[in-house]
């Protein structure tokens, strides 16, 4: 099959939706005439769809979010690019108090098709204001969906679903993934929300990882298998909200061991949520305590010497998982 990058896959989903449905628009800083997106996702779209569909804005995140919410109330399907996920803090009220609550507060009179693209994660020294993985925070806000593709195939399929999700979707992308390549069909397809994937089948331990950490978990799984005779199953939830606990549970039932690997922070992270659900519902299936392998509770530093200690890497994952046997 044809190989394309994660950026290209995202663009393909957006382009196709825009071509078919003139209610699909993009709003953000530097997405059109300037940079065509800092990570190049909207490359070429301005030329194709023009300034009415690819809408450049001033540096004013509140207005970007407001523009998207307002347009969505009138039936548009805006895709917002927040240049770096960290900047969502500037328009957080739009997320927490407006977008997430429209459906409930209007008693279903309005619901929003609204994708908020959030390039997150550390990318070779992007530092404390341009590296954060914030998805765990948003899991605690009812009314939002959260997608987090780990590869080009999922990026395209999840984006296609997100545009029509009928609820605001926080679409967490990852800097280290944009240039990675993978097989992606030319034709349109949608990946349903709430259905996890098995990135690697195995029988000895279940590792749940999302976004960029899927590749770290897979690399660790290879080493665990080759050097330490541990056959790990790697589950990629694809969407954190809704979360496919069934697939995770089935895997844990088989392996009797659970580790969660994430770039979000250890405290109140994704591992906390998944770990607690497993201990609530499936405790009897576990042969050993669960393990949360996450970023340490430190703002993300710039130099590699510190980043390597803060964010989980293959070495740490291998070490921590070996301790479970």
């Amino acid at each position: 099959m044809r190989e394309i990058t994660y950026s290209e896959a995202l663009r393909e989903a957006i382009r196709s939706a825009m071509a078919k449905d003139d209610k699909v628009i993009m709003i953000g800083e530097e997405i059109g005439q300037g940079y065509a997106g800092v990570f190049g996702v909207s490359k070429g779209l301005y030329d194709e769809f023009g300034p009415k569909r690819i809408i450049d804005t001033p540096i004013a995140e509140n207005s970007i979010m407001g523009a998207a919410i307002g347009a969505s109330l009138l039936g548009f399907k805006p895709i917002v690019e927040v240049m770096f996920a960290d900047f969502i803090a500037v328009c957080f009220d739009g997320i927490l108090n407006q977008a997430a609550k429209v459906r409930f507060m209007s008693n279903g009179q309005y619901s929003l098709n609204l994708v908020v693209r959030l390039p997150g994660g550390e990318g070779s020294g992007t530092g404390p204001h341009h590296s954060q993985c914030l998805e765990s925070l948003f899991m605690a806000i009812p009314g939002l969906k959260i997608a987090n593709p780990s590869n080009p195939y999922d990026a395209k399929g999840l984006m296609s679903s997100a545009i029509y999700a009928n609820d605001p979707v926080l679409f967490f992308e990852h800097k280290k993934l944009y240039k990675t390549k993978g097989d992606v069909p030319q034709e349109d397809y949608a990946i349903p929300f709430g259905k996890a994937g098995i990135a690697r089948a195995g029988k000895d331990i279940t590792i749940v990882a999302h976004s960029y950490m899927v590749s770290v978990a897979l690399a660790a799984a290879d080493e665990l298998y080759e050097k330490h005779n541990i056959d790990a199953e790697v589950i990629d939830p694809k969407t954190l909200v809704p979360l496919d606990m069934q697939t995770i549970a089935e895997s844990v039932k088989k392996t009797s061991r659970l580790a969660v690997v994430e770039e979000t922070y250890l405290r109140a992270g994704v591992g906390s949520e998944i770990g607690s659900i497993v201990s609530e519902r499936y405790m009897d299936w576990l042969d050993c305590p669960i393990k949360k392998i996450a970023s340490r509770n430190v703002p993300i530093p710039m130099p590699a010497s510190l980043v390597g200690e803060v964010i989980p890497d293959k070495k740490r994952v291998v070490k921590e998982i070996r301790e479970m046997f």
Binding site: I25, K52, I55, T57, P58, A60, N62, S63, M65, G66, A67, A68, I69, G70, A71, S72, L73, L74, G75, F76, C91, D93, G94, N97, Q98, V102, R103, F104, M105, S106, N107, Q109, Y110, P142, G143, L144, D167
Partner: protein
């Protein structure tokens, strides 16, 4: 404009409806039936009536936390409004959200925000959407208070409104205070002037003179509708009651309040009608009719059931 008895009767009818509606809400609140707080607009009724009589049902609206009048005038059913006030299942939002957050898609009321300032960027977005749709007629009327104009969002959105040329009619109900804080202690600039900074057509008028509000709005709405450009109107008025139902408003002097009570827009309108020969009986009959409407709405609300929780609410 020539004096038009029918128009003045409409002014009176609509303002009196708001007044009576809110009196009933207050009664409900006294009886402990209103959940949370409710913000009444006693004394400010001319602002909603004068503006919204020029607005079509197909236009969009964003109301404020003090928005009963705006919501009623946009056309929401009185029964469904009243039921919402006391959180009943027959309320316009199923009773979920009460007084502060009325949304009514059937009349293009997009919903009021409990977060002061949040409505500005959304208003720009609605205007953007109207532009993208190629709309040549519909506009958005977006209400806000004086206090809200100190949020950074306000200025940011005015700039966006200017550069994107959105057909939004921004209406500031300037009642001189945000809660206990006098506007003049928070900003040295008159509100209507703030829009002129951004090259936006802007004006002000006496918000207690319903005819003045009506005429000024008519002109500005015509401008927004035909030119497809933003505009702002500041209406100077006063709430003669507290910020929320049981606020004793110690931050204002008795004299100030009494002064403003003399400018009550309903009383003023009645006086004009009487002076121009409308018989008192006609006015009494009109009021009676509204009284009945509101009493019926209250009875409807009181008799309606509370909403029942169901798991599908989980998100």
């Amino acid at each position: 404009m020539d004096y038009d008895q029918n128009l003045y009767l409409t002014f009176l009818e609509k303002m009196y409806l708001i007044r009576r509606f809110e009196q009933k809400v207050y009664e409900f609140a006294e009886r402990g039936l209103v959940f949370g707080s409710t913000h009444l607009e006693v004394g400010e009724e001319a602002t909603a009536v004068g503006t919204l009589l020029n607005i079509k049902r197909s236009d969009y609206m964003i109301a404020t936390h003090r928005g009963h009048g705006q919501e009623l005038l946009k056309g929401t059913d009185v029964n469904a409004m009243m039921a919402e006030m006391i959180g009943k299942a027959t309320g316009i939002c199923g009773g979920r959200v009460g007084s502060m957050h009325v949304t009514d898609a059937s009349v293009n009321n997009l919903g009021a925000q409990g977060i002061i300032g949040a409505s500005f960027p959304i208003s720009v977005g609605v205007g953007l959407a109207l532009n993208l749709l190629g709309q040549k007629d519909k506009i958005l009327i977006s209400f806000f208070g004086d206090g809200a104009t100190n949020q950074g969002n306000f200025y940011e959105s005015l700039n966006m409104a200017d550069i994107w040329k959105v057909p939004v009619f921004f209406v500031c109900v300037n009642n001189l205070y945000g809660m206990g804080t006098a506007y003049c202690s928070t900003c040295n600039i008159e509100i209507y002037k703030k829009a002129t900074f951004f090259n936006i057509k802007s004006d002000y008028c006496d918000g207690n003179d319903v005819a003045a509000v009506y005429n000024k709005s008519k002109e500005i709405i015509d401008y927004v509708r035909t030119k497809r450009l933003p505009a702002l109107l500041e209406l100077k008025t006063y709430r003669t009651i507290g910020h929320s139902a049981f606020d004793k408003h110690p931050y204002r002097t008795k004299e100030e309040i009494e002064d403003w009570k003399k400018k009550d827009p309903i009383k003023r309108t009645e006086d004009i009608l009487l002076k121009n020969g409308t018989p008192k009986e006609k006015i009494d009959k009109l009021k009676k009719r509204i009284d009945t409407t509101v009493d019926d709405a209250a009875a409807f609300a009181a008799q309606s059931p509370y909403p029942v929780y169901d798991d599908s609410l989980e998100q």
